[in-house]
Amino acid sequence: MEKVKISGYQLFVLVVLFEMGSAILLGLGSEVKQDAWIAILLGLFGGIIVFFIYYQLYKYYPDLPLTSYLQKIVGKWVGRLLGLLYIVYFMYVAARVLRDFGELLTTTIYNSTPLFIINTLMIVTIIYGVHKGFEVLARVGELYFIIIYLTAILGMLLIIFSGLIHLSNLAPILENGLNPVIKTGLTQIITFPFGEMIVITMVLPLINDKKKAKWVCLSGMVLAGINITITAVVNISVLGVDLYHRSPFPLLTTIGRIQIADFIERLDVLFMLYLVIGGFFKIAIFYYAALAGAVDVFQMKNQGKLVFPIGIIVLFASITIASNFAEFIKEGIAVTIYLSWPFQIIIPSILLTIAYFRNRKKQTSSL
């Protein structure tokens, strides 16, 4: 592990940027139509509960990342194997986000540019950032946090002044009852984006004030959740339920609607600004988690050596993961069931149970 320390505020910023990351771009919870925002809030609620599992584990091992305490909890070799699986999982998700990102650009603006080029350029930027170290990432995060908020407020004002918001699109609330909403919220949105907080377990030991960890992460999640909810509400009220459901990237369509005085229109750039920033942090943090995990599991001294290889793997994985967008989305649903649930919720819960008994034994024996 790097010997860096980040402040509570820096972690907060990273959590917000990471959680918002690609979630804001996609039509989250569009299955439940106008109630998507309720589903998101429910997902946030579930995500907070899941986070407490991670936090409890962190309290047992405040100085260790996930891959290290895995070895302590389930034994060296099983732990290492699990750690390896986690590394692969992190890289896979990083590749997926990168693909998301590339797909978005190639479907909208750069429709005749090869996906590979766009992904390569993005990953080169991320490699550069990760290469500079986590501390630099955190600082860049602070810088862009402000920028993102300013652009978000600007975008919001533009949307409002264009008279695009029709809150009546949100009615009727809970048309089909609460069940489908709960189902979407607690099976899908809980894992994406909120369950992805599992990555933060890799960087939690870096925080300099251990007491702050809990509130920093929680407030970050809540803020991100609220932002995603607001975005969903705005998207639905601008586009209407139907278009929200039919657009792969509703936010882009929403921003495309802005028209003020026949002069300010087609502000895709604003969107791109957000896209590069959000994509950058989401991928970079997954990437860093995989990197730190690999250094930890293989007990390497210098993490600089692994930066480049992992970046290349993520890049090629992002290209070969699926041959077209439809396949990619289909895979995404399988990921939720076969990867997100085990890695984000099931394994950590089992770990917590074992850790609980181990630590109780330790306490009683020490008494």
Binding site: T107, I109, S112, I117, V124, D242, L243, G256, K305, F308
Partner: protein
């Protein structure tokens, strides 16, 4: 140093790949398509007219001087789908057709009336990332779309600007047309509780002269474009037109009316007074009686007296109140007649169905399947509140002091 070398190598590896500029398109290689005109020929193919701007002849700046040639050029091509037609057009145009600045899509009445013809062009427009779905949609009345797209206009160099600006101006000043974009249209098509309306446009005058430069040399142009009526679309095809006065009622209900003029008679004098509302707000609410929905429309507007062609004391509040009453009744009548018209057509262009859906989703589930039939017998109440706030820069009209009457 070594890792730098690796990063450097990776960067240099990407450089040859970057030398190709895939999405780069120079401005001078683009043909800005400002309007699309879509007709259907007897060969059952779409005949698409592309109105392309000729930048040098529009801009009055350097080089062109403006007015040397015609500001637009129209190319035509055919195809079984819109995409095919668009690709076929490249055989005739030296530049890449660029749709991001397309502001108008004109569809001929023929296409609109034919089953599914209108719907067949929509997805191509909706899906293309370059094309804006905020583009205005217009149906050409009594003429082909091509004729509409090829017409030259005087005041605005770009005919497209004339049409889009005109629709907006009419929406704001008269309230007989309203801006209908591809988006609005699609929303109406998809929704079960609302049917779309589309503006009608007509080429008035000698059609053959519309496309000639000499049409621009006279003060009274031989052929010009004018908005005319609202097309009612049901199940994706045009079923009828709603004409001027009744169209205004539709715009009132849809809460798009900003300003218009209401002319009433006073003391037996026909067309004695004119009131111009400057602000208007329409609320549609659904009430339920015996499990049946009732639509209550309440319109609230305020305005000023713009004309009084009779002896009248406009400073008297009581008289003003009376004027307001008259105006209210007039608007009420107009709106109700529009509603009746739509009910006769069995086509819910007002979105009452959506309103029912939002207030009572359970009932809606039962009504959804044959809402338009249900709509025909729907009870609709209209309530208007008008406020004449002021009366211009004169109090009593000169009629009051006129000796001869």
């Amino acid at each position: 140093m070594k890792k730098w070398l690796i990063i450097l190598l990776a960067l240099t590896m990407t450089v040859p790949l970057l030398s190709a500029c895939w999405n780069q398109k120079e401005l001078t290689d683009l043909a800005f398509v400002l309007a699309l005109g879509i007709d259907k020929g007897e060969d059952d193919m779409y005949h698409v007219s592309f109105q392309i701007v000729n930048p040098g002849n529009v801009s009055t700046g350097q080089g062109g001087g403006g007015g040397q040639g015609l500001p637009i050029a129209v190319y035509k091509s055919t195809g079984r789908t819109i995409t095919e037609a668009a690709r076929n057009a490249t055989k005739k145009v030296s530049r890449r057709l660029y749709y991001a600045h397309t502001n108008l899509v004109v569809v001929s009445e023929e296409v609109a009336k034919e089953k599914n013809s209108l719907l067949h062009i929509m997805d191509g427009l909706d899906r293309d990332p370059e094309f804006r779905t905020t583009t205005e949609l217009v149906i050409a009345r009594d003429s082909t779309a091509e004729e509409l797209v090829t017409t030259l206009t005087i005041l605005d160099k770009l005919p497209v600007m004339k049409i889009t600006k005109e629709i907006k101006a009419t929406e704001a000043m008269l309230g007989e047309n309203m801006s209908v974009t591809i988006d609005d249209f699609m929303n109406g098509i998809i929704s079960t509780g609302k049917e779309p309306i589309v503006n009608g446009y007509r080429l008035v005058g000698i059609k053959e002269k519309a496309r000639l430069a000499e049409n621009l040399q006279t003060t009274t142009t031989d052929a010009f474009l004018a908005a005319d009526g609202l097309a009612v679309i049901k199940d994706g095809e045009l079923i009828d037109w709603i004409e001027s006065n009744k169209a205004r009622g539709v715009i009132w209900v849809l809460d798009k009316a900003k300003s218009t003029d209401i002319t009433i008679s006073w003391n037996g004098k026909k067309n004695g007074l004119s009131m111009v509302p400057i602000r208007s707000k329409t609320k549609v609410a659904t009430a339920f009686k015996n499990g049946k929905p009732i639509i209550n429309i309440s319109i609230e507007n305020e305005g000023w007296i713009s004309e009084a062609n009779t002896a009248i004391d406009l400073t008297d509040p009581k008289i003003m109140e009376k004027i307001q009453k008259l105006v209210e009744r007039k608007i009420e009548k107009e709106v109700l007649s529009s509603v009746k018209e739509a009910q006769k057509l069995r086509c819910d262009i007002f979105g009452f169905g959506e309103n029912v859906h939002k207030t009572n989703p359970k009932l809606w589930k039962k009504l959804e399947s044959n809402w338009n039939d249900y709509f025909a017998d729907l009870e609709v109440n209209v309530k208007v509140d008008s406020y004449a706030r002021r009366e211009g820069v004169r109090t009593k009209p000169f009629w009051s002091v006129l000796k001869f009457k």
